[in-house]
Symmetry: C2
DNA sequence: CAGTAACCTGACCGAGCGGTCAGGTTGGGC
DNA sequence: GCCCAACCTGACCGCTCGGTCAGGTTACTG
């Protein structure tokens, strides 16, 4: 759907509708998760159902566009934090923002928490997210602010874990995740000296490749 | 569907089919989550779709029966551990088994991780699970084996969090959760001295009551 | 201002879902 | 061995979903 430079630029109403669609879809996915229906998204955007599929061939493409944007934002924030003076504080801020985003977006939880989305852009984005997390942990590790066996991928995985811990009480106690982030971060700090039992995940890709056809 | 004592006991084929149904449903829910279809469950059990609804009025009733059983098993295990000589080891074993169960059953993750199931039996079971976890943490706390501000409800919530941390790599690294359980348990131990920021969840019920009609 | 390609619309489709029920089958009391 | 209530079966229903498309509309070009 992206116009190649040779073709005529998109019409004014098309770009406006695309904007409305993306905003409505982001809201709907955040609220209801990936199962938000196309019909509801179209209604929120004030456009017809068919128009949705004019901009995105499948629902998964639409979801991938939104998730990709969110991941890119997180990557940008991590990059910005990469040269902060206090690496441990920077890492904590990175994790805080990450869990905050998860707590506000159900679809994002599903996409990051399951190897469901096959979109290559999203997968690449998650890999870049792991890389920037690796940078942050590297710096903190070099200053002995965190235990030596924590990797960037650990940090990214822990975002989902911290959020999930508080998720059952999300509406009643929307800030409860701060409690568990603090607990986990205490576990990450250098004070704890016992080595972790299972080796860190070391594969290149964050999610499993090629999940079998079932589901 | 439970026979009151006055009525005639169930027929032999009925009890056999009920057994087949429960086993098949447990497998299907574990594999595909709560969205496993009644049609697939019936096929696995070798019975007709209509027979499923003869034993359980709705799909949710069937799910609740299986989830309730799993929770009861966990409660029983926790009770058994309540008088172990080493309370910290007992708490760790309780958490280990809990995460193990979560890692093997997708439906269980959904039911414990979201306030979705309205079944009163399941909710009561979760409350009893929190109580037994409270007993275990109490004993460990009294021996100063864990930090003083950890509650039983924290422990139960952390089960879901630890599992979720490793869940994206579940098929590739099925034992990865042990790494994060160790990390979290290090955070629970008394060594870490910073008090946790957010107060522990203190409401009586584990899950939110009366989620609005939407989804 | 006319012409056209891009765009939008909403009725429509097929698949899959939970749940129902008339009618055939069978276990077990007598 | 008879009989009937309990049980089982599978076609069927209504609904929602993602996705399609013929036909009407509209923004740009020249």
């Amino acid at each position: 759907m992206t116009n190649s430079p040779s073709t005529r630029p998109a019409r004014a109403d098309a770009v406006r509708n695309r904007r409305l669609l993306l905003d409505a879809a982001a809201d709907a996915f955040a609220e209801h998760g990936t199962e938000a229906s196309i019909a509801e998204i179209a209604q929120r955007a004030g456009i017809a159902k068919g128009t949705v599929f004019r901009h995105f061939a499948t629902k998964e493409d639409l979801l991938a566009a939104i998730m990709g944007q969110m991941i890119d934002d997180l990557v940008a924030m991590g990059t910005r934090l990469s040269d902060a003076e206090d690496p441990a504080a920077a890492l904590l801020e990175f994790m805080t923002t990450g869990v905050e985003v998860l707590a506000r977006d159900r679809a994002f939880c599903e996409v990051v928490g399951r190897p469901s989305l096959r979109d290559p852009g999203v997968r690449a984005g998650i890999d870049r997210l792991c890389e920037v997390a690796e940078t942050l942990t590297d710096r903190a590790r070099r200053r002995h602010a965190i235990r030596p066996d924590i990797t960037g991928r650990d940090v990214v995985l822990l975002l989902g874990g911290v959020h999930q811990t508080a998720a059952p009480l999300l509406t009643t106690e929307p800030e409860l995740w701060r409690r568990y982030l603090a607990l986990v971060f205490d576990g990450i700090r250098a004070d704890a000296t016992r080595p972790l039992p299972h080796p860190a995940p070391d594969m290149l890709r964050f999610v499993e490749t090629d999940p079998p056809p079932g589901a």
